[in-house]
């Protein structure tokens, strides 16, 4: 009996008292906003980088852009995302009053772009060279061949890998607290410091991440099944 009342009290103080559940709700909202826009930044920039890299590998053109892209990929993939986040917030935007959500979107987007770029590049390189030649032999130039023939096939091949990258990104945003942005993780942490009770808020945070990841994974596996079904032979 004692245990249950104690547990009930803890539940009450963690989530109900002073509307503390709002920290989790608001944090979740922030996490989702940051992830969503970071995915958009990552996809756009990632595709751009991938096309530059693949074009250079295929045709030998764009030497300078390829050189820049390679440096970008090396630096971004060679340093922790937390450090990148801190540098963007405390160094690049040090003297400007800037929205933290914007900084987080930028940092996670720029970071994700590097990983998206390598996924997309591998997708492009996996397409048989004969597809490029077939396009060329019909009078299509490189750009048209890329847009209408290569990329649609490449995207289809890499969709599962791309979706997994977004799942990773969702979890990676949990370090946004380093720039005092109240995301889901930080929200749970605020409750912990208010109630001196760590177990329940952190468990709740973990559960919410887990549910989101499981939901996304389920969507990915459905997507994979759909793709393999329409993949005739």
């Amino acid at each position: 009996m004692n245990f249950f009342t104690q547990f009930g009290d803890k539940l009450y103080s963690t989530f109900i008292e002073d509307d503390r559940w709002m920290y989790l709700a608001d944090g979740l909202k922030t996490t989702l906003i940051v992830t969503f826009f970071a995915v958009i930044v990552g996809v756009i920039l990632g595709f751009l980088l991938a096309v530059i890299r693949a074009t250079h590998d295929k045709t030998g053109r764009l030497k300078f852009l390829n050189f820049l892209a390679k440096i970008y990929l090396t630096v971004i993939r060679g340093t922790p995302v937390v450090v990148q986040l801190l540098i963007i917030y405390f160094v690049i935007f040090a003297s400007i009053n800037v929205d933290k959500i914007f900084v987080a979107v930028l940092a996670f987007g720029l970071n994700s772009a590097a990983y998206v770029a390598e996924i997309v590049r591998s997708g492009i390189m996996s397409i048989d060279n004969g597809q490029f030649e077939a396009g060329a032999s019909l009078g299509l130039n490189y750009t048209r061949t890329m847009i209408h023939i290569i990329l649609p096939q490449a995207i289809r091949n890499i969709l599962p890998a791309l979706a997994n990258e977004f799942i990773v990104l969702l979890k990676e945003t949990s370090v946004a607290g380093y720039i005092a942005l109240t995301d889901l993780t930080k929200g749970g942490d605020i409750i912990r410091s208010a109630t001196y009770e760590a177990f329940l808020p952190l468990l709740a945070v973990a559960l919410i991440y887990l549910i989101m990841v499981m939901l996304l994974s389920w969507l990915v596996s459905r997507l994979e099944r759909r793709l393999s079904k329409s993949d005739r032979g």
Partner: protein, 241 residues
């Protein structure tokens, strides 16, 4: 129509084409035969510059292709269809879209005009019922016939065939050769790299024998097969016939 002068192609140390000179006239059906590694496919791929020649001149309708910029080159390729050994159909598109993609995206036809053209071509190659299917639902022979239809949709002046039946099961070779015979009879200019000696004998207006990166002999098919001069050709024919 196509004029080739002293064409050389090297891949690093390898000297694949060692000075090819020949002229292909409008309406000609030129069949190129020769052993593997003789450079016949490379020669064909140089004609539409899928391979960049190391030296020499290729003129298409009077224009030097070796010195063209990309834009001019794409314009020439619109007039020069190519059929590949492995078809290279676009697997993500329906048969109809495979055929209409290039003419529509290049602004030569509206989607409706291209669809009408596709229907006409599908009828010609005997695959009218496949318009909405995907390439991987077809047999090899059907794929190659669609690949030919795709080239024809551009209304080319010349068709290049790079071993069009070599990747096919034996029972499917006939349907593709039959279609090529039809095209030849309609007056299409064709350059065909093949191992099908029967086709060369019946359809070619001229047969070229290549060996070791050079044209060793060229002649009209009757004399070519019944009275070969070059010793390498005699040896080759004795093995394949």
């Amino acid at each position: 129509m196509i004029e080739v002068k002293e064409l050389h192609k090297r891949f690093g140390e390898l000297h694949i084409l060692k000075g090819i000179t020949t002229t292909i006239e409008k309406g000609e059906k030129v069949v190129i035969i020769g052993p593997s590694g003789s450079g016949k496919s490379t020669f064909l791929r140089c004609l539409n510059r899928l391979e960049q020649p190391t030296s020499g001149v290729i003129r298409f309708e009077g224009e030097d292709m070796t010195s063209m910029n990309d834009k001019q080159l794409h314009a020439v390729r619109e007039k020069m269809g190519m059929v590949f050994q492995h078809f290279h159909l676009f697997p993500h598109l329906t048969i109809r879209k495979n055929i209409t993609l290039a003419p529509v995206k290049l602004g030569l036809m509206s989607q409706q005009e291209a669809n009408a053209k596709a229907d006409e071509l599908l009828k010609k190659v005997g695959l009218s019922d496949k318009a909405e299917q995907y390439p991987n639902q077809l047999s090899g022979g059907q794929k190659q016939r669609i690949a030919i239809a795709r080239s024809l949709a551009m209304n080319p002046d010349v068709l290049l065939f790079d071993e069009p039946t070599s990747a096919l099961d034996p029972e499917m070779v006939g349907e593709v050769l039959e279609l090529m015979r039809e095209l030849a009879a309609e007056g299409m200019t064709m350059v065909v790299v093949t191992h099908e000696m029967g086709f060369a004998r019946e359809v070619a207006s001229r047969v070229i024998f290549m060996d070791n990166g050079q044209i060793m002999e060229e002649n009209e098919p009757q004399a070519f097969f019944s009275n070969p001069q070059n010793p390498r050709l005699k040896e080759f024919l004795s093995k394949v016939l």
